[in-house]
Amino acid sequence: MTTPTSRSASTARTVRIGGDRVSLRVSPRLVLATTVVTVVLLAVATLSLYVGNSQVTPTRVTEIILGDYGAATRFEILAVLDVRLPRVLSAILVGLAFGVSGALFQRLTGNPLGSPDIIGFTSGVATGAVAALALGTVGIGAALGGARPSIEAGAIVGGIVSAALIYLLAWRGGLDGFRLILVGIGVSAVLSAVRAYILSRADLGAAQTGYRWLTGGLGGRDWDDVALLVVGAMILVVPTVLLHRPSDRLSVGRELATSQGLPVGRWLVTMAVVGTGWIALAVIVAGPIGFVALAAPHVARLLTGRPGPHLATSGLVGAALLVVADIISMRALAPTQLPTGVVTGILGGIYLLWLLQSRRRGTA
C-alpha cells in the first residue's frame, strides 16, 4: 500500500490507501521531528511536576500522581494536584498557543520576525489588562457596575479593540504583511505609552500588580485557567487544522499561490483571525510572555527541515519551550521565584543573537 517515491529524507513520501482514492504526503523527517518534540514535551512536563517551591519528596509526587494518597498529607496532595498540575497544563497550553500563533503570523507577514509580540496584539491585551486593574482600584469600575472589572475581561476587551484597530489601519483592499508589521509596531508604541501613563497614575498596589502581570508568568495558575485554555483551544483547533495546507501553499509567495488556485485573500484573513485568537488566549492566561511565539516557529523549522513554519510542530515546540522556561523560573534562583517572562526574555534574546551570528557566518 505504501509507495515511496523518493529517497531524500526531507522529500515527502506518498502513502496510498484504497488504490488511488486516498493519497497522503508524509515527510519522514517531519514525523520524526514531531515525535521527538512530543517525547521531550512529555518528559519536561513530568519533570516539572517534581519541581516546585514547596517541599514534596519525589516518591510522594509519584504516589500522588498514581492516585495513592495513603501516606501523603493534605498539603502535599494539594501542592501536586492543585498547584503543580494546573501550572504545568497551563504552561503546555499557553506555549502551544504562542507557538501556533507565531507560526501563523510569520506566514501571514511573510517575515521571520513577524511575530504577534512585534505586531502589537500582545501589547493590546496587556494594555486592556492594566487598564482593568487601574480602573478597579481607582473605583470607576465599582461606580459603574459595582463589580471590579477583572484582569481577564480587560485583557479580552483590549485584545479585541487593538486587533480591530491594527487590521483596520493595515487593510488596503487586502492584508499586506509588511504594512501589518509597520502598523503593528506603531500601535504597539502608542499602547505602551498608554500603559505607562495608566501605571503612573494608578496607586502603588495596582501598579505593582500591573507590572508583575506585564512580565508574564505562570505562577498561581489554577484549574479555572486550565479550563479557559482547554475551551479556547478546542474552539481554535478546527480552523487551525484547516489552515495547515493553505499556510504551506503560501510558501511560494502570494502570486504563485494565487496562480495555483489558492483563494489567498480569504485565507489570509482566516489566518489573522485564528492567529489573533491563539495569542489572545495565551496572553489572557499568562500575561505577555515574550519570545516563545517568535522562537518556536524557528526551532520547528530547524528540526523539521520543512519550508515554512509547521503549525503543529511549532505549537509543540512552543509548549516544550515554555515548560522548560517555567522549570528554570522556579529553580534557577530558588527559593526566589522568577517570573516566567523574565526567563523566556533572556533565553529568547540569547537565541536570537545566536541566530543572527550564525546567519552572518552563513551556517543557518
Partner: protein, 268 residues
C-alpha cells in the same frame, strides 16, 4: 486543445488595473489567440507585467473584465481557473531547503485535496513536467543550490505541472546570461509547438522577435501596436515605443526582424 485561429484563449475588455488607486494600465483591449506565442514588450514601467497579472487574476481590474475561454474570470472559482491557466511570477519565493521534486509537485495544488494529496495522476504530471524541462536528474537536489538557469527551468516545471492550456511567464529570462536565455526560450518554443498558448513578458526586443508569433507593444499603460514581429518591429514603432533611433534588418539565422540601434555618438 482547440486550434482554431479565430478564437481567443484570453481577452481583456476595457481593463483598467491600478495600484493604490493609481491606474497603471487603462482601457486595455487585448486578445490572445489560442495557440499563439504572444510576447508583451515595452520599456520599463510601461504596464506589461501589470497587464499580465491582470490577465491571470492576480490583480482585480478596477474596470472592465478579463475573459478566459469566453468566460469572465472574476466570476469563476480561482481553483478552476488554475486548471486552465498558470502564471509564473517574476520573483516567486523559494521555500527554504525545498527539493526540486517537492517544489514541482506544488504545481499540482489545484488538483489536490485533504485526502488526495498526491494521486498517481499528480505523480505522472510531475514526472512529465520534469522531463519536459530536462530536470529529472535534479529531483532530489535542494532548489537553493541550483544555478540561475537550472532554477528557472525548475520554476517553469512548477507551472507546467499545473497542466494548463494557457501559460503566462513574467520575464522568465531576466538575470540569466545569454546562453541560459536561449535555453529558456527554446523550452518555451517547444511548449508552444506542443500546443500550448504562451503569453510571455520579455525585455529583449530581438529575442521577442525571434520567438514570438505575435507581439504586443506597450507604452505608458496602453497597447501601441499588436501583430506579427514583422508588423510590430519597425523603425517607426521602435522609435515610438522605446524612443530609440534604430535600423531594422533581418536576422541572418531566422529571418526575423533584428533591431540595430544607430551608431553611438562616440563613433560618429
Amino acid at each position: 486543445m482547440t486550434d482554431t485561429d479565430s478564437t481567443n484563449a484570453l481577452e481583456a475588455e476595457r481593463v483598467t488595473l491600478s495600484y493604490d488607486r493609481v491606474a497603471v494600465v487603462e482601457g486595455l483591449e487585448l486578445g490572445i489567440r489560442t495557440g499563439s506565442f504572444t510576447v508583451l514588450i515595452g520599456p520599463n514601467a510601461c504596464g506589461k507585467s501589470t497587464a499580465l497579472k491582470g490577465l491571470a487574476r492576480l490583480l482585480t481590474p478596477a474596470a472592465g473584465r478579463v475573459l478566459l475561454d469566453g468566460r469572465d474570470i472574476a466570476l469563476r472559482k480561482t481553483r478552476d481557473i488554475a486548471r486552465e491557466l498558470a502564471l509564473l511570477p517574476q520573483a516567486p519565493l523559494t521555500p527554504p531547503s525545498v527539493t526540486v521534486a517537492d517544489l514541482v509537485s506544488r504545481g499540482r495544488a489545484p488538483y489536490q485535496s485533504l485526502l488526495r494529496q498526491y494521486s498517481r495522476e499528480d505523480e505522472r504530471a510531475v514526472t512529465a513536467a520534469m522531463a519536459a524541462t530536462g530536470i529529472e536528474d535534479l529531483a532530489d537536489r535542494p532548489v537553493d543550490e541550483l544555478s540561475g538557469g537550472q532554477r528557472q527551468r525548475v520554476w517553469i516545471a512548477v507551472a507546467l505541472a499545473q497542466e494548463t492550456d494557457v501559460l503566462l511567464l513574467d520575464e522568465p529570462t531576466t538575470y540569466l546570461d545569454l546562453a541560459h536565455q536561449i535555453e529558456v526560450l527554446d523550452l518555451c518554443a517547444r511548449l508552444h509547438a506542443a500546443g500550448r498558448t504562451l503569453v510571455v513578458v520579455l525585455h529583449d526586443l530581438n529575442m521577442a522577435a525571434r520567438y514570438a508569433t505575435e507581439l504586443v507593444a506597450f507604452k505608458a499603460g496602453r497597447v501601441v501596436a499588436q501583430g506579427t514581429p514583422h508588423e510590430v518591429v519597425t523603425p517607426a514603432i521602435v522609435r515610438e515605443v522605446f524612443g530609440l533611433e534604430a535600423d531594422v534588418i533581418l536576422d541572418p539565422q531566422t529571418g526575423t526582424p533584428l533591431v540595430v540601434p544607430h551608431r553611438p555618438p562616440h563613433l560618429t
